[in-house]
């Protein structure tokens, strides 16, 4: 395919008018209703909390570098891993792809001027900000030590700031709900002429499915957290065994949200990977409809598997069997995606740019994360592995090896569109490989620790585990360095990166038909869509013929 010359001949100039300079001053940002600016504010906030949550993680690994107490006492250690979890889950990973990249690119990929409710979009950002402030205040007042799951009855008796933290998560949930409402209505109502459902880029299908999950699960978390607060303040009794309540009910409620929540995190990452692989393989995504609908399938099936978090909780054995059986069904749509991406790569004209490197790393790491989930879904092996580092490793292979790598890859992919500047490929790829190395040293080691019987959440450990724990901690430092290199790559690009053209990668979706960075209203004229999303022959982003 001969798209490369077309891209190379462009001699880009930085556009005079774009969304960043369309209006000036603090108020123009604080009261903006432009989805791109809101997306950017989400991006900066999410990255900040990623840094904070990452520092907590590094401190946890630092303590675990050697057996015995090193730097912190037991309680501080419990607080550190709880804060790592709370910050990463509620403040970083849930908003990272949907609210930051999604906000920015949903209207651009759809061909719309904005999301359906721009003011609501701004409001959801402020609700996120308020939730974040409450969370930080609660951390300062008395950091929770319950783990991010807030299990009762311990969360009812600990003297740390449970109410504040839980209320923060409650508020953050509202932000998530409002974003979900906005995305769904936008996709239903603001598709331009010719943009049929099956002409939508796969990132949009992923965001749509994510929004559905957000809307159906978050309210249940909201009421669970509200009940937990009422439980602590009034003694409602529903979760407190001492009052005749049932702590397992809390776990059911909690996981009814929090299992689908892992799909809120991973499904948008799938969307990003589909975009990157399509662009850098110069091919249509193999089995486009299957990839699109598998997101929806994951959203649906994901609601019937929450009990697999509770195999050792004392729920009935029958319930355990049903949940175990259903859990294996999630593997089907997930495998559909993996196989279709691999088939897309086959005989593709592969361009090994940084986003593609991240996507390939994603494929490897996510596959490991997915396959190691199967023994956890099976009842017998689950009981043996449940409270060990095996679960920690599995979870991080999916969430970090999967979602975070997709997020950083997506950030590189869309960086030229967001900022109008290119980054240095060599530094970007070097960072990706450093992260790959650090990640696998840190977390593959933890599979081995888990198999050997190292329990999770423990402050201290036996001498037998010392070698592997030390090795894992060294990996965490390499990870830290990798992120610093990636950060340097972005800062260097902002300072003096080459100016980006409209379509530096040869992408085929609508965001590449508008200038980089886009104008405030995204497109000069409302686009009319006449081609499939990944048509590398006729896409207006490549031919320059905007219908």
């Amino acid at each position: 395919m001969s798209t490369a010359p077309h891209i190379a001949t462009e001699a880009p100039e930085f556009p005079k008018e774009h969304y960043l300079n369309a209006s000036k001053g603090f108020k123009s940002w604080a009261l903006t209703v432009d989805h791109k600016r809101i997306g950017l504010m989400y991006l900066v906030s999410a990255l900040t909390f990623f840094l904070v949550g990452g520092l907590f993680a590094l401190l946890v690994r630092l303590e675990l570098f050697l057996p015995g107490g090193q730097f912190f006492d037991q309680k501080t250690y419990n607080q550190l891993f709880t804060l790592h979890g709370v910050v990463m889950v509620f403040l970083f990973i849930i908003p990272a792809i949907p609210a930051a990249l999604g906000n920015f690119f949903l209207p651009l990929q759809l061909g719309a001027k904005d999301v359906a409710f721009p003011k609501l979009n701004l409001m959801s950002f402020y609700i996120y900000a308020i939730g974040a402030i409450i969370a930080i205040a609660a951390m300062v007042v008395g950091a929770v030590d319950t783990g991010w799951t807030f299990y009762t009855p311990y969360s009812l008796t600990t003297n740390t700031a449970v109410v504040g933290t839980v209320f923060a998560a409650f508020v953050l949930g509202f932000s998530s709900i409002l974003t979900g409402v906005n995305f769904i209505v936008t996709i239903h109502k603001l598709r331009p002429p010719g943009m049929t459902w099956f002409r939508m880029p796969l990132f949009l299908w992923a965001l749509y499915s994510t929004s559905v999950i957000q809307l159906l699960s978050t309210p249940v978390l909201a009421i669970t957290l509200l009940l937990l607060i009422a439980e602590r303040l009034l003694g409602v009794g529903v979760f407190d065994p001492a009052l005749g309540g049932d702590p397992v009910l809390f776990q059911h409620f909690f996981w009814f949200y929090s299992h689908p929540a892992v799909y809120i995190m991973i499904v948008p990452a799938f969307g990003v990977i589909s975009e990157i692989i399509a662009t850098f393989s110069r091919r249509e995504v193999f089995g486009y409809k299957f990839v699109a609908l598998s997101s929806v399938a994951i959203a649906v099936i994901g609601f019937f598997v929450w009990g697999h978090h509770m195999f050792v909780s004392g729920q009935s054995e029958f319930a355990g069997m049903v949940f175990s059986f259903l859990t294996f069904f999630v593997a089907i749509p997930t495998a559909v995606k993996i196989f279709n991406w691999t088939a897309t790569l086959y005989k593709g004209d592969i361009q090994l740019r940084t986003p593609m490197v991240y996507a390939l790393i994603f494929l490897v790491q996510f596959t490991i994360g997915g396959l190691t989930g199967l023994p956890l879904g099976a009842l017998g092996t689950n009981v043996a592995l449940h409270d060990t580092y095996y679960v920690v490793a599995h979870f991080h292979y999916v969430m970090m090896g999967g979602v975070v790598f997709a997020f950083v890859g997506g950030l590189h992919y869309w960086w030229p569109k967001i900022t109008g500047r290119m980054y240095n490929e060599k530094i970007g790829t070097f960072a990706a490989l450093t992260l790959f190395l650090g990640f696998n040293i840190t977390f593959f080691t933890q599979f081995l620790l888990g198999f050997k019987g190292m329990p999770r959440r423990y402050y201290d450990f036996d001498q037998n585990f010392a070698g592997l724990h030390g090795f894992s901690s060294v990996g965490s430092w390499i990870l830290g360095i990798g992120f610093l290199i990636a950060l340097y790559c972005f800062i260097q690009s902002l300072r003096n990166g080459p100016i980006a053209s409209k379509n530096p990668w040869g992408g085929t979706t609508l965001e590449w038909t508008t200038q980089s960075p886009p104008i405030a209203h995204n497109f000069v004229d409302t686009p009319t869509v006449t081609t499939d999303p990944y048509d590398h022959e006729n896409s207006p982003a490549l031919t320059g013929r905007v219908a």
């Binding site: 009940l227 009422a230 003694g235």
Partner: protein, 223 residues
């Protein structure tokens, strides 16, 4: 019904369609779709409470059947009537807006607001104080000794106060929304060409009404 146009179109402030919407019908249908989705999330939130209610009622059936006798059926019924009438007035407010009858619309909105306030006064002024006095409250404040013969009576009151309390909070939020409509009505932006806010607050108000329709039998008539 008279079909007269009470406010001539030149007296209203004409609605401007959002720049990102192709036309006003799509804008209204988008707003309605969004709000229906939001109501689904509200329903799921209350759904969690209904699940908890079902679970504990099946665990302690005799507690629920005994404890419900301490609730006031007359006041509960009165409040049900108040909410049902307010659902009617809010519908009439939408109709009046569609007919450009601004005065009637404002009248119905004021009536709705008044009924909502009446609901809260009956609840907070007449229904709850005797409970505070008697101590039929959630566990942390429970002091009543008339239900010693059934297990865990405080659970009933825990659920009662959380569920009716959350519902009450929704009524108060509704009062805020209706006040906002009254403000918009006085400003003159609601007319035949644009009545989306009343339509949406109306949906919300019916939802609040509907939740109460379920709370009444579950708590007051639980025998």
């Amino acid at each position: 019904m008279s079909q007269q146009v009470a406010v001539s179109p030149d007296k209203v402030i004409r609605h401007r369609v959002g720049h990102h919407w192709p036309h006003v019908e799509l804008e209204l249908s988008g707003a309605k779709l969004g709000f229906w989705i939001f109501l689904c999330t509200e329903l799921l939130m209350f759904g969690g409470l209904f699940v908890a209610y079902t679970y504990f009622r099946s665990l302690y059936p005799e507690t629920f059947s005994e404890a419900h006798k301490t609730l006031s059926i007359p006041l509960g019924t009165l409040n049900t009537g108040v909410l049902i009438v307010s659902s009617f007035t809010v519908v009439m407010a939408i109709r009046s807006a569609m007919l450009n009858q601004r005065k009637a619309m404002l009248g119905y909105l004021y009536a709705t607001l008044l009924l909502a306030a009446a609901f809260m006064v009956i609840k907070l002024g007449f229904e709850w104080p005797p409970k505070f006095a008697k101590g039929t409250l959630p566990a942390a404040f429970y002091t009543y000794d008339g239900l010693a013969h059934v297990p865990k009576p405080h659970l009933f009151y825990g659920l009662y106060f959380v569920m009716t309390g959350l519902h009450g909070l929704h009524v108060v939020i509704g009062m805020g929304l209706i006040s906002w409509l009254i403000y918009l009505g006085h400003k003159g932006v609601l007319y035949r060409g644009y009545y989306t806010p009343i339509e949406i607050v109306g949906l919300y108000w019916h939802f609040v009404d509907l939740i109460w329709i379920y709370l009444l039998p579950l708590f007051y008539l639980a025998g």
